[in-house]
């Protein structure tokens, strides 16, 4: 029963997206469909985690074809955790988008739903070609979102993003063709262990992994990420930071564990690249001058930490990597949302234009500093547990150089996050909130189209909302509703940090499913 619903996680958001594409009004119905669909997926994700607890693998074969021929949707602990985490983040970001007024643009809701459908499909599919299709389903709405929402540079950022991702997709497709040409199947379970036995498969699959690394933002192919994320709108940047690169990372974990069976020949090479990514991202972040570009470079650094888990392999390394992945998604999205709240209210994200927010916005300051400490790796937040288990894993694998880089990059992260904290939250107040809309200021929850229509300055207000959705609250401060999404995620990080044992137990199960793939293979083709 639970397994038969697996394809729905992919289909339901796409269906809801198609409906919202046609039916625009009323706005509350649009919001209800958006929140309801993502909320339902979140609930189902929790059910999946419970159902896969203990190493069960759920399979849904499409069209009742026998296993191995059918295109399967597969859920094990790793997929279940990822579905739950991505649904939670999407829900929180959508809540932020609603409060910030971004969803008044008709196409916000349908494209976010289509994007999420692609993400869920990519996390659950058991077929390489289907993975390609799901990643495309995820990317196409992103192309639209990135060029539609955001500041004046959004089209430029959109161009970089689209060109780069189309090239990466082409490389991915070539890789799939090579894999099929060499071994004649694209089913994950059929491919299991193939790359360890045959060098030709290893090379063909290597092309796929390179494409996934491009999409994940691994140094040296990370340049697109910090050039695009700061230019879109706050809610979109937060959604992208939580979902996009993480799907690529998930696929790298899955494919390396299944197809390469953790082949040790390539691991040293991978550790080197991950160390480069950690160090390079953390160093670049120090020199940036807007909040979101600092965060984007810290994200590149974080990708190094996450993929170090797969580079170390073994049950310990994988469990640490998956734990860090979940922690990083939550914390990074929280930071992007606090930065977004500042930007929506104060109209800028430049470090030298902001100051003294700690006194004015205590809620937001708490959300930011909590998430920042978590990113750096301070107890009691989740970052401490994440980095601690990663360090343990690198010592266990005698990767002392990686352990050194983990610590050094953390110090650099401290430096860059400290810089943001100092210039944005401490010091003198350098900028008052944007509150120029006067009487036309409306609360985020109202159906603003009607308000705008009945107002003389309608055109100007609409224009303003299109460019940045700044004036949605008549308050002079960041409203609690705008700060709440970031705060919720910071508290989630705190909760994970305090109850690290529980989540670590789950990620160890997920890692066990990756190191010993026999139950996965048996569930998919053994029937």
């Amino acid at each position: 029963m639970i397994a038969t619903a697996l394809p729905l996680v992919f289909a339901a958001p796409l269906l809801a997206s198609a409906i919202l594409m046609v039916v625009h009004r009323p706005i509350w119905a649009r919001r209800a469909v958006l929140v309801g669909t993502v909320g339902a997926v979140l609930a189902y994700g929790v059910v999946l985690v419970a159902a896969t607890n203990g190493g069960t693998v759920l399979v849904a074969d499409i069209g009742l074809w026998p296993g191995g021929i059918a295109i399967p949707f597969v859920a094990d602990m790793f997929s279940a955790l990822m579905v739950t985490a991505t649904a939670l983040l999407t829900l929180v970001c959508v809540a932020f988008g609603i409060v910030a007024g971004e969803d008044e643009q008709h196409y916000f809701a349908p494209f976010v739903l289509a994007l999420y459908g692609g993400v869920a499909g990519a996390l659950l599919t058991g077929d390489l070609f289907n993975l390609f299709v799901c990643i495309e389903v995820m990317l196409l709405p992103s192309y639209v979102l990135i060029s539609m929402f955001g500041g004046e540079n959004r089209l430029k950022a959109g161009r970089i993003y689209i060109t780069y991702n189309l090239l990466a997709s082409a490389v991915f497709l070539f890789g799939v063709a090579f894999v099929y040409g060499v071994i004649g199947t694209v089913n994950f379970a059929e491919l299991a262990g193939a790359a360890k036995e045959s060098t030709a498969v290893a090379v063909a699959m290597g092309v796929v992994l390179v494409a996934l690394a491009m999409k994940s933002g691994v140094v040296p192919v990370h340049g697109w990420l910090p050039r695009t994320y700061p230019e879109t709108s706050p809610a979109i940047a937060a959604i992208f930071s939580g979902l996009h690169t993480k799907v690529g990372i998930y696929a790298i974990y899955r494919l390396y564990a299944l197809v390469y069976d953790g082949d040790e020949r390539f691991l040293g090479f991978a550790v080197l690249f991950m160390c480069l990514t950690m160090a390079f991202g953390a160093m670049s972040a120090v020199g940036e001058d807007t909040i979101r570009s600092v965060l984007a470079f810290n994200m590149v650094s974080g990708i190094g930490y996450i993929l170090l888990g797969v580079a170390l392999f073994g049950p310990l390394g994988l469990a640490a990597g998956i734990f860090y992945l979940l922690h990083h998604m939550v914390v990074k999205t929280s930071l992007f949302l606090s930065a977004g709240a500042v930007e929506v209210r104060y109209g800028t994200q430049r470090l030298d234009e902001l100051g003294g927010l700690a006194g004015r916005e205590p809620l937001l300051a708490f959300a930011f500093v909590g998430a920042a400490l978590s990113l750096i790796g301070m107890p009691p937040f989740s970052g401490f547990a994440g980095k601690f288990v990663l360090l343990q894993a690198s010592f266990a694998e005698s990767a002392y150089f990686a352990a050194f880089i983990i610590l050094a990059a953390s110090l650099l992260t401290l430096l860059s996050m400290g810089r943001v904290w100092n210039s944005v939250f401490w010091g003198p107040v350098r900028r008052e909130p944007d509150d120029t809309t006067g009487t036309a200021a409306v609360t985020g929850a109202a159906d603003t189209d009607a308000v705008v229509a009945g107002n003389g300055e309608g055109g100007a207000v609409l224009q303003k909302r299109r460019t940045h959705a700044k004036a949605t609250s008549p308050l002079t401060h960041v409203s609690p509703a705008l700060a709440a999404p970031a705060l919720v995620l910071t508290l989630v990080s705190l909760g994970i940090g305090l109850g690290a044992e529980g989540l670590l137990n789950l990620t160890q199960q997920a890692a066990a499913g990756l190191t010993d793939t026999s139950s996965y293979i048996e569930a998919v083709i053994g029937r």
């Binding site: 089209l155 959109g158 090239l167 497709l173 063709a177 040409g181």
Partner: protein, 103 residues
């Protein structure tokens, strides 16, 4: 061999066009890259087997074409088509955007 050369030429042209400034040229580059990927996908199924893959009509199974890569190509064509339409729309709406060197 023919397929390999064809794919190589298409990729070379595609990469050259994608690196151009104008968005329309980039769209053409994406089309060429998509075609190259399709040729490689078809070649992956074996170009020497060309009979229809209808179970009750083929004398020798060995001669039947592999239908799976054809399904892949069909999907890939649809995706490339969608992307092309979007790129052309973007080129139309943002004409004059970022097409000249500004230093």
């Amino acid at each position: 061999m023919t397929a390999a050369i064809l794919a190589g030429v298409l990729v070379a042209g595609g990469v050259y066009l994608v690196l151009q400034r104008g968005l329309i040229r980039m769209a053409f580059g994406v089309i060429l890259l998509g075609h190259a990927a399709n040729v490689v996908l078809l070649a992956a199924g074996g170009l020497y087997r060309r009979e229809a893959a209808l179970i009750d009509q083929i004398a020798a199974v060995q001669a039947a074409a592999d239908p799976l890569p054809q399904a892949f190509v069909l999907t890939a064509i649809v995706i490339t088509f969608g992307v092309t339409v979007y790129l052309v729309a973007l080129a139309g709406s943002g004409s004059g955007d970022d097409t000249e060197e500004t230093t």
